[in-house]
């Protein structure tokens, strides 16, 4: 299942709609990394509100995405982690260390706008 990745100004927004298989997650990773390069985006937001489970593979791949995106000069923000999911994650030791996490899309965009303000055109 393809996750739609939308361009929002200098940022990319990927909103996950339903449960993802491992193959879907890998496909998402490749698509995001490719698009960040193509659009020279400054930031990526991945909305995981619809995910009712985040296991070691999902969190590991999200961390991979953040890492690869950073290599292209952009920041990744994960938004929408559900309370129950967060609870399960920390109990398993999956803390998404090093990856910015915000409550929702609005907060994510706000963070990216502050962290990566657009340089004015001269």
């Amino acid at each position: 299942m393809q996750v739609p990745i939308l361009k929002q100004g200098a940022f990319l927004v990927a909103v996950i709609q339903s449960a993802l298989t491992d193959a879907d997650i890998v496909q998402l990773r490749d698509a995001i990394v490719s698009k960040v390069g193509h659009f020279r985006s400054r930031g990526v937001i991945i909305d995981v509100t619809a995910l009712d489970v985040m296991d070691s593979f999902a969190t590991g791949t999200l961390q991979d995405i953040a890492h690869m995106v950073r290599l292209r000069g952009a920041e990744t923000v994960i938004v929408g982690i559900q309370p129950d999911v967060a609870f399960a994650m920390v109990h398993m030791g999956l803390t998404l260390e090093g990856v910015t996490t915000k409550l929702d899309l609005e907060e994510g965009l706000d963070h990216l706008e502050r962290a990566r303000p657009a340089t004015s055109d001269r």
């Binding site: 938004v79 982690i81 309370p83 967060a86 609870f87 994650m89 920390v90 109990h91 803390t95 998404l96 996490t101 915000k102 409550l103 929702d104 907060e107």
Partner: protein, 294 residues
């Protein structure tokens, strides 16, 4: 005791047991009024069900009697279980106790047994009792277990409610939550606290949480671990946590345990924590008595 055991325990051949039970049931049904009255009399004599009125006792006794006989007749416990649960739901709030429920069922068993004694001559009486007793015991057990289960369920719910009440998550400012933790933190309570906090963060869109541990009874490795997990899970929801009320001793304990205090903001006291939080959120803190700059 299950229905299977009930069937196994009867010593006479199954067909004659079935026939005997049918015979019993018809005897108990036709003497219903008289036996029920006898039973109610003995309930009152034993001072059971005092929380209920005479009319209520009569109504319940009728239902129980009929369910009892039906269970004997159909040799299944399903509708009796359902009835027992229903009965428990109604009478527990009235203050009826376990021993009363078990008591009245046993009294009914006795009343019916005596009636069988007087009806059947000694030759056949043994067979009759062999058929009756296991069934009667299974019934008593079913009713008692149903009642106890319902009570325990209610107690669990009440305890859960009390726990939630005793750990309120307060919203003080927009985007700021305060969670004062007071008393003993067992794993169950810790779990509940974390869940409440996370739901609160989501509902209030909190960016900052001040967790005050001044009132925590004992800080050990388990509690410290729960605290760290809470801080980490709050972060996943985009909220930063400031922990306040850490005495130097407790801070030392945490460090000794191996908790990375660098992972959490810590401020000495709650007041200081709130001020720090407000500062982080962009509020200006004006001490009392001073006027704001013009």
């Amino acid at each position: 005791m299950t229905l299977t055991d009930l069937r196994k325990e009867s010593k006479p051949a199954p067909e004659s047991t079935a026939a005997l039970l049918r015979e019993l049931v018809s005897h108990l049904a036709s003497n219903r009024t008289q036996l029920r009255e006898e039973w109610i009399r003995r309930i009152t004599e034993a001072r059971l069900l005092q929380a209920m009125t005479k009319e209520e006792i009569f109504a319940e006794a009728t239902s129980v009697y009929d369910s009892y006989v039906e269970a004997l007749e159909t040799r299944t416990l399903e509708s009796l279980q359902a009835y027992a649960q229903n009965l428990s739901e109604r009478i527990i709030p009235r203050g009826v106790d376990t021993h009363e429920v078990v008591g009245i069922v046993l009294l009914l068993r006795d009343v019916l047994a005596r009636s069988l004694f007087s009806k059947y001559p000694s030759g056949i009486l043994n067979d009759v009792m062999d058929a009756y007793e296991p069934a009667a015991n299974a019934i008593a057990l079913t009713v008692a277990v149903g009642f106890v289960r319902e009570r325990e369920r209610i107690i669990r719910e009440q305890q859960e409610a009390i726990r939630e009440l005793s750990t309120p998550v307060l919203q003080v400012r927009e985007r700021l939550l305060i969670l004062p933790i007071i008393g003993v933190i067992d794993p169950l309570r810790a779990r509940q606290l974390t869940e409440q906090l996370l739901r609160g963060i989501r509902a209030n869109r909190a960016k900052l949480v001040v967790i005050d541990i001044t009132g925590v009874a004992a800080m050990d490795a388990t509690v410290a671990n729960h605290l760290v997990l809470t801080v980490e899970s709050a972060r996943l929801l985009g909220a930063r946590v400031i922990v306040t009320g850490l005495s130097p001793e407790i801070a030392q304990t945490l460090v000794n345990i191996g908790v990375d205090l660098g992972k959490m903001n810590t401020v000495g006291d709650l007041q200081g924590g709130i001020e720090e939080a407000e500062r982080l959120l962009g509020f200006k803190v004006i001490p009392m008595g001073e006027s704001a700059p013009a």
